[in-house]
């Protein structure tokens, strides 16, 4: 038998959850995992639907029997019925006997899961909600039946009232609560189901020189994939030809379409704009960013918030404690309660069993976590686990790596200064023409700037690199110099007019590059690693959240200070060697700070791992970064703000739920036990207890669902 099972798991395509395990993934042919994830999600939804419908059928049956039962349990209160069924009459006995049969049918049909659930639990020597409801409704029914059949066992006449209405109505109400719970639970996992639904079904690939539409599962790494305007990008890859803007909001959370040109990365499930693209598939099936995201979100949703471990200990003792409380309640009411003591004792113990809601306690944190992690994912933020979520709430310091985090991470032309008689375009075009064949990193920035502005660049007829100073090139017969001021001065060209501008640019941590032609200085280009458009705003938002913002960089102090001024960070740590970044994080932690580190996930991996919460930023398709607790798919620092805000909102939600669940049980149980009776004469009816119990678990889930309405307004743009 065992070997059959082993065969099953290794040779058949396992269902989606099985794809979680690395071994199962290895055995899985490429492409099937994403598809089976989608079908498993559908199956799960169908299962939930079926469960909901079954519970609602049970509820309606219970309600149909329950309504007349409630009325006929107290016929002496209703004119007309009072005469038909006078107290103690034979007719009333027959009526109640008929109700006994009806309520048994309700227990057997609507309430059978309580009894089977309780029995399965007892076999494991464990107790759950089913145990409480089964004992509660069962006791009420047995008591009523004994009272009906053997009234002589009871000392006083009044004791022989029946409680069939309790049995039926409690069963119906709890079943209704369960149905609503199933429905609401489905909503908490909507986010992940939406992600799974993004997976395109087919792809157009080039096979044998022709374009063919194939199921997405059949795309393999290396395939050339064609994306038509407006179509979905089927898998991850690198653009080969074409240009377009792609809407990546469903994956990265960035609402602006992203321009794509050859060499750029495209992410599966994003939507192409108006251009056509051809790209080479680099990740397919279970390796695509989307499939990884779905897997990570699923794992995170099933993980535990640390606070849950305490709740687990409590709930491990909770249900048997309730049973014990109900027995003790019975004894106390029987010994010291008013007459008829036996009837009161039964009602009190039944009410106690029914009002207790272990479910509210158990669901309090998982429901909020599921919603919160899903919410983050819809903003392009992947939170790895409940631990990360709880840690993110307590952060008080954010350490930002400069290059690639605050700045774009690639040098670019930021300013152009043209002297008299020339234009910015002339200066840039000449410089770009001269630098066309240079391999210097700054040259690439100049050439790219000219291309971006659509400037024509002529090929130089002669080219010479002057080491450490710049280049000298001949273009259309003109001698062009591009480089440091010393390069111009060596040729006897005066650049005094540009001196002041150059000094200003240098103060802004930009590198000034002089451009001269025909023995005359034409202008300046400033090259720097530009600050990302939204960095300043995001850093301001982090400070509004009460966080201290520290910038960490390997750059010299002057550059670092210039950037720091531009974006408004509190503290700058400059000239840090890459290997010492983790140490700087540790230093802050030793000061008693809870530190978030935001970096690129590869160079900054040790610092990310050292931090209380590590944020890997701008990971694109490479979403599964091991060192990070939180992965931001887009490159925007705004994601850090959103991640911290969402973590705080989620943990607040967890706290509300736990508080609610504890307060509910903490107040409900004593009231059910009758502590108010000696002072106010108030005793809770079991039917009200059932209402409260159903309402409490639905409240917990509804509160978790409320998180979905969380908006980032005022926190980030």
């Amino acid at each position: 038998m065992r070997s059959t099972m082993t065969d099953h798991t290794t040779t058949c395509h396992p269902a989606a959850p099985a794809a979680d395990s690395p071994a199962a993934r290895a055995a899985d042919p490429p492409g099937t995992a994403a598809a089976s994830t989608a079908s498993a999600a559908e199956a799960r939804q169908a299962e939930r639907q079926a469960e909901y419908r079954a519970l609602m059928r049970k509820f309606w049956f219970g309600a149909a029997v329950g309504a007349p039962t409630m009325v006929l349990s107290y016929p002496w209160l209703i004119p007309g019925l009072r005469e038909l069924f006078p107290m103690g009459s034979q007719q009333l006995w027959y009526l109640w006997a008929f109700m006994g049969i009806g309520s048994f049918a309700v227990i057997a049909y609507s309430g059978n899961q309580f009894f089977t659930g309780a029995w399965e639990g007892l076999k494991h020597r464990s107790a759950n909600m089913h145990t409480l409801i089964a004992i509660g409704t069962g006791t009420a029914w047995i008591y009523s039946t004994v009272a009906l059949l053997f009234p002589q066992l009871f000392p006083s006449k009044a004791t022989t009232d029946v409680y069939y209405d309790v049995t039926v109505v409690v069963t119906a109400l709890v079943v209704l609560g369960m149905a609503m719970e199933v429905k609401a639970r489905g909503r908490t996992s909507e986010a992940i189901e939406k992600l799974i639904g993004l997976q395109p079904k087919t792809a157009r690939v080039v096979r044998g020189g022709a374009e063919r539409e194939v199921p997405v599962d059949e795309v393999v790494v290396g395939d050339v994939v064609v994306v038509r305007p407006g179509a979905k990008v089927p898998v991850d890859g690198i653009v080969l030809e074409g240009a377009s803007a792609i809407d990546e909001s469903m994956i990265t959370g960035e609402s602006m379409p992203v321009a794509k040109a050859p060499g750029d990365e495209v992410i599966g499930a994003t939507i192409n704009g108006t251009g056509a693209l051809r790209f080479r598939a680099t990740k397919v099936g279970a390796d695509t960013a989307l499939a990884t995201i779905v897997r990570m979100v699923g794992d995170a949703q099933a993980s535990k918030v640390p606070i849950q471990r305490i709740v687990d200990v409590v709930s491990g003792y909770f249900t048997p404690m309730v049973v014990i409380a109900s027995i003790l309640g019975f004894v106390v009411w029987y010994d010291f309660g008013p007459s008829p003591a036996f009837a009161y004792a039964v009602v009190v113990s039944v009410t106690t069993l029914i009002i207790a809601c272990p479910c509210a306690l158990g669901m309090a944190t998982p429901m909020s976590l599921t919603t919160g992690v899903g919410l983050a994912a819809s903003h392009g933020i992947l939170i790895r686990s409940g631990d990360a979520l709880q840690a993110a709430r307590r952060l008080d310091t954010v350490v930002l790596d400069k290059t690639g985090t605050i700045t774009v991470g690639k040098p670019a032309v930021t300013d152009i200064v043209s002297g008299t008689g020339t234009t910015d375009a002339d200066v840039l075009a000449l410089a770009a023409a001269a630098e066309r064949d240079s391999e210097h990193p700054l040259a690439a920035a100049i050439v790219a700037a000219a291309r971006e502005r659509g400037l024509e660049t002529a090929a130089p007829s002669a080219f010479e690199a002057v080491a450490g100073h710049g280049i000298r090139a001949t273009i259309d017969g003109r001698v062009v110099l591009v480089g440091k001021r010393a390069l111009l001065e060596a040729d006897g060209i005066a650049a005094d007019a540009l001196e002041a501008e150059a000094a200003r640019l240098a103060d802004e941590a930009k590198t000034p590059v002089y451009v001269a032609a025909d023995g005359r200085a034409l202008g300046l280009l400033a090259i720097a690693d530009p600050v990302k458009a939204d960095s300043r705003e995001a850093i301001a938002a982090l400070r509004r959240l009460g966080l201290r913002v520290v910038m960490l960089t390997g750059d010299n102090r002057r550059t670092a200070d210039a950037i720091a001024r531009a974006v408004g960070v509190d503290t700058v740590v400059a000239e840090v060697l890459p290997q010492d970044k983790a140490h700087e994080v540790r230093k802050l932690q030793l000061e008693g700070r809870a530190v978030a580190m935001v970096g690129d996930g590869i160079n900054d991996a040790p610092a990310l791992a050292q931090a209380n919460v590590g944020f890997a930023i701008g990971t694109g398709t490479d979403v599964a970064i091991e060192a990070s607790d939180v992965t931001l798919i887009s490159g925007s620092l705004g994601g850090v703000v959103a991640a911290i805000a969402i973590s705080r909102a989620t943990m607040r939600n967890v706290t509300q739920n736990l508080f609610g669940a504890f307060v509910y049980n903490g107040l409900g149980l004593p009231i059910a036990l009758g502590v108010l009776y000696p002072f106010t004469g108030l005793l809770l009816s079991p039917i009200l207890a059932a209402l409260a119990m159903s309402f409490s678990s639905v409240t917990v889930i509804s509160n978790a669902n409320r998180l979905k309405r969380f908006r980032l307004q005022g926190v980030s743009a």
Binding site: G121, N128, P320, M363
Partner: protein, 127 residues
């Protein structure tokens, strides 16, 4: 105190003791995992109102494969979580779902449903 009250009190206290003993003082031996030809320690776990077996003994340092089979529709048990190993799996009704992990140090771990209502113990013993 009347005899019936004494009787109810004595029976009640006995019932309390019985409940406490029944739920809290169980000491299950548990089922030891069998080692398969691929080196995995494997146990089949039935999910129905609880986990059967609910106590599983495995050796430290060898990979473990738990095969879960859920035979009920109650939403409560639709997911199994091994929090200490960062593993979880959705359990569609009637399907065998493997969960694999590598137990490190000897010790005791739990596997639960998402709400922590159903619980099982995993005893990692020194190899």
């Amino acid at each position: 105190m009347s005899p019936d009250r004494i009787l109810v009190t004595v029976v009640g206290l006995a019932a309390v003791a019985a409940v406490a003993w029944f739920f809290w003082f169980k000491r299950a031996e548990g089922v030891a995992a069998a080692t398969m030809s691929d080196g995995y320690q494997e146990v089949m776990v039935l999910v129905k109102g609880g986990y059967t077996p609910d106590t599983i003994r495995v050796s430290a340092g060898k990979p473990v494969r738990l095969l879960f089979r859920r035979e009920e529709t109650a939403a409560c048990s639709e997911q199994v979580v091994l929090a200490d190993f960062g593993k979880s799996a959705v359990l569609p009704e009637g399907q065998v779902v493997p969960v694999e992990f590598l137990p490190g140090e000897p010790g005791e771990h739990e596997f639960t449903c998402q709400m922590g209502m159903l619980r099982g113990r995993l005893l990692v013993e020194a190899a």
